[in-house]
Symmetry: C2
Subunit: 413 residues, 2 copies
């Protein structure tokens, strides 16, 4: 049961000129479910991505990075397709995993008439098990056969694992007289604490954006969206966030200093925030959507440390689940977040509009019933003021419930 | 239901000459439960402790540190008593909390005929609520009235909070012809990831140990016991581990270079490990006792990073709860532990005697049923070999179950 997350309306998901999507039921792990997605791109498209920093990064992540790196060595090459399977992460699979990921690319390239290096592969699912590459290859013709521009809803379904519902959104923005259409999909509900991006987010727009500019844009958007969410603090082996600019509209962005870049980056970031927050709202077992904002820090890094300490504390998360204003647990997390010269007498803590702790101690006017009122809400903002400077950071998370334990205790069964 | 943790047998807990213990039902938070403990020490006793590194450290921790610091300024002063309350942590309580902790010390000092600075105060319980100091003061005469040398079992009961059973152990060791008797108690079941020591451990022996030597010994023992355990990664505001040497036996230890020191340190550390592991066995909701050993590291710090990443991962912990050999989750945690130059092709992973991952990938001979067999046990050792050097570290933890969520969602109700 996701937190305030209505099902996307398929008709509201706008096709993006220059990209077609096709899906199949390949039986990667389970029969009779969409588990294979192909995205075919126009030759004019540029693609950029950010990936997990987990040292055990999955084979498809390594192949994606290599294929994107090739782009920078050649002006004429371009990415022509993406292929995504669920049910198996192809991580912890060593050399055999790399061979399997490359074989998937080659098989799709043959169907589309391009080179294997022009395909980016993505996998999500169980770690440490061999990728059933033959079943994936066998499913590709069906996915290619149903490639369509308005398949975004089905695409969002095809990349789900423990997600309870598909995650997708569209937006348009007018820049320099051109209407730019953007649509994105994401998935993920556990093993979520992205450290570059999350597993998986795909966002396409029809602007024409040079490779160098798109590389800059994808990092900027990720840093303000997928890199600000956490469910359980587990940084996945497969996190990938990809931005595609199909280049089919009249808008061309060639410099990160231009007003067009600023407008496009703002719009892409807003849509990426939407997609990343959908992951939190559908977090495994989530019953509350929590915004943790840390202000008055000396650096962005220390604000994020404090925000993540709060967002990862099992005690804070269970208190939210119980709607119990046991708010000392938040101060406790602030205290162990790792700021060695923190002066706790300068700390102020707020829960929405309620001033809970003043100068490191309980606010004299704080009443339990005020804390209780906020804790019962399904959307809560925790605000900590550090009294050390002028920097702020925000992290989005959810609570820790019985269902999180159930889901992860049962995941493979 | 604790994991393989029999109730201590009261008769097996040996009195330590030079220390008497008394308890009372002060009604700090709930009526009709032992919640106040007094420990009275012989004038010959030396005392040393290590405390939480949480910046929001509780008022009693600050007072303890100040009183122990005073000892180093005066050769004649000594600690004569310890006082412990449960039900309220006296943390996040600001100046009023310090006044309350000092008032408790003064009240006990008056009853015992010493100075308030010769008393060490300890509190455990809810954070951010004022300490009911009047109820504690009112309970002190009863605690003093029942001071006895063989009250260790009742003392262990008096410091419990969410613990399901008291934690205590005794040991004797013969050093240089003298039989040294040691008894200790501990408490704690949640908010456990000590970063100096845990809330709370008290260990007394009857050796005579100089202050400087005892300061060294307490750190050494803590680093190999309480500083190696974690339940939920939450470093408490009140962690304290105290070693008391009553000085009533014939053994005198005056140098950390002596064979007597080595023997005593070894015995104290073993008992401290026993007490700290009892905390894990009684961890909130624990059904499994997990030993995480990381070998072949380049430094102790990186081994501990990897061990804690595994021990804190909610996904790893729920897999243990489910007895599900979803062991890729362990590799995933190794990958995000923060070793930036980790070469995953050198990683080997074992579950007890089962070789799961070889050179970063699934071992070709690994069979699911072997992993399943070990995962079903109540005691499991995870061993990771990093292939980077000759250093090792061990951390003890438990699984994450539905009961952890229940206990912490209901803690204050």
């Amino acid at each position: 049961m996701a937190v305030n997350l209505p099902l996307p309306v398929a008709a509201s998901l706008k096709p993006v000129n220059g990209i077609e999507l096709g899906f199949a039921e390949a039986g990667v792990r389970k029969a009779n479910r969409k588990d294979l997605l192909v995205m075919k791109l126009a030759p004019s498209a540029t693609v950029s991505g950010v990936f997990t920093t987990n040292r055990f990064c999955a084979a498809p992540v390594q192949v994606c990075k290599a294929h994107l790196e090739d782009l920078h060595l050649s002006d004429s090459a371009s990415i022509r397709a993406l292929v995504v399977n669920t049910g198996n992460a192809n991580a912890g699979t060593g050399e055999a995993g790399l061979i399997a990921a490359n074989a998937t690319c080659t098989a799709l390239a043959e169907l589309l008439g391009c080179d294997g290096s022009q395909v980016l592969p993505f996998s999500t699912g169980v770690i440490l098990e061999p990728l059933p590459v033959d079943r994936i290859k066998a499913g590709l013709p069906a996915a290619v056969a149903n490639l369509k521009a308005d398949n975004w809803y089905a695409a969002a379904e095809a990349i789900m694992t423990t997600d309870t519902q598909p995650k997708a959104a569209s937006a348009t923005v007018v820049i320099d007289g051109h209407t730019i259409t953007m649509t994105g999909i994401s998935k993920g509900a556990g093993m979520i604490r992205p450290n570059m991006a999350t597993m998986l987010g795909f966002l396409a727009c029809d602007a024409k954006v040079s490779q160098r500019v798109l590389d800059h844009l994808v990092k900027e958007a990720a840093d303000h969206s997928f890199n600000c969410i956490t469910i359980d603090g587990d940084t996945s082996t497969n996190d990938s966030f990809i931005v595609i600019a199909t280049g089919t509209s009249g808008l061309e962005v060639t410099s990160v200093e231009s007003p067009e870049y600023e407008a496009l980056s703002k719009a892409v970031t807003a849509l990426a925030q939407n997609l990343s927050q959908q992951i939190i709202r559908d977090g495994e077992g989530a019953t509350k959507f929590i915004t943790v904002t840390v202000e008055e820090g000396a650096s962005s890094e220390e604000c994020r440390k404090v925000a993540y300490a709060i967002a990862h504390s099992p005690l804070v998360k269970t208190a939210f689940f119980a709607s119990d204003p046991n708010l000392g647990r938040i101060l406790c997390a602030v205290g162990y977040a790792g700021i060695s010269d923190l002066d706790v007498t300068k700390i102020n803590l707020y829960l929405d509009d309620v001033w809970v702790a003043k100068q490191g101690g309980r606010h004299p006017d704080y009443r339990e019933e005020d804390g209780q009122r906020v804790m019962k809400q399904s959307e809560i903002t925790v605000k900590v003021k550090l009294g050390r400077g002028g920097v702020a950071a925000t992290v989005w998370t959810c609570d820790l419930s019985h269902d999180y334990v159930s889901i992860n205790a049962d995941y493979r069964s």
